[in-house]
Amino acid sequence: MAAKVAVLVFPGTNSETETWRICRDVGLDARIVHWSQAATLPQFDAYVLPGGFAYEDRIRAGAVPAHDPMMDYVIEASQKGKLILGVCNGAQILLEAGLVPGTGPVRRPTAAFTHNGPVPHFVCKHVHLKLAVEPSRCAITAALAKNALIPAWAAHGQGRLAATPEHLREIMQGGHLAFVYAHADGTVNEAAVPNASALGCAGLTNREGNVLAIMPHPERDAWNYNHPDRRDTGDILAPSGGVKLYAALAEALNLA
């Protein structure tokens, strides 16, 4: 029996289709769960919060959806140890809900993905995420290789990690910094970061390692045709590098 994964749609979510597709392509029984179907959420094994502009990012990205009834179920599920992946807007919602880095109480955020720097505008750019913790630190990344490099598209206006110095220290010392931005060859430096994110952060995980929040979209570089440079690599419709993260999620669920 394939694991049942809910791909959540809040009012304003817009990346549900490609997220659902990649989850299905890696063998998960993925279902799109719409906000009016929130009551069906407890039956799922894992949850993916896709990208978009839930509530148009009004007030702050992720601020209003963090209080949506769907998040009550997600918070409950996370406390039960179920796996939760938030991508882009999904990541912002998880931070606003306090689930990631999870160093404070629920719905009391200790960090945020906020306006890009140096100039606060939306940035659409191909990037790479580099695993910055031991794979086993986070259940979703456990099946990845050490220092795994995942291609993705960054497409966000509020992707810069920001927190007080104490909380940033906590993030570092607690091993919450799951992914950093890197170049295609794996080099990590300031130039690889598209949004001035603190610590070069592209993704965070919580204490227990069952919740992962990443800003870039691996599902938008999940098939060979998604990057002009990969045109010549065999089957144009076959999965490409971005599928790795979702395959790792599937692996983690199959082992459960």
């Binding site: 906020t114 920001a162 927190a163």
Partner: protein, 141 residues
């Protein structure tokens, strides 16, 4: 040199204010109305009148087709209002004639029934529950 503060609001419907109002009500913050404004404080040399004219002359801040501007008597939040500022914002570069920087806040003004400004406890509840993320912002009441 005097400190001048302006509140610039949309005079066309403010969708963000509507979402904030409904979200706060769902969170149990009992308010009837909510106004959102961009609050700017500047150090300025000239008269009040000249200052307002110069602010109105900067299209990136003020477009008369969609904004209305109020010069605030005091450089602090009005009754029922909270100002939210990013922790690491500092001074923001913006040009008002020869002024080059100002401080920027988002002003949320809450009202109970009628035109009554919401009380302090309500405003604090609103900022704590939704309007301010203490990880990156501070709220001034």
């Amino acid at each position: 040199m005097s400190s001048r503060t302006v509140a610039i609001r949309l005079k066309i419907p403010d969708n963000e204010a509507y979402t904030a109002l409904t979200a706060l009500r769902r969170l149990g913050v009992d308010i009837a109305r909510l106004e959102r404004a961009e609050i700017w404080t500047f150090e300025d040399r000239g008269t009040e009148h000249d200052f307002v004219e110069r602010v109105e002359g900067n299209e990136t801040l003020f477009n008369p087709n969609k904004h209305e501007l109020h010069l605030l008597e005091e450089g602090k939040p009005r009754e029922g209002e909270a100002w939210i500022e990013e922790l690491d914002a500092g001074e923001v570069a913006v040009r008002i004639a020869d002024i080059a920087h100002g401080r920027r806040f988002v002003g949320w003004r809450l009202f109970s029934e009628g035109h009554t400004p919401a009380d302090e406890a309500t405003v604090r509840s609103a900022t704590e529950k939704l309007l301010c993320n203490p990880a990156i912002e501070r709220a001034i009441q």
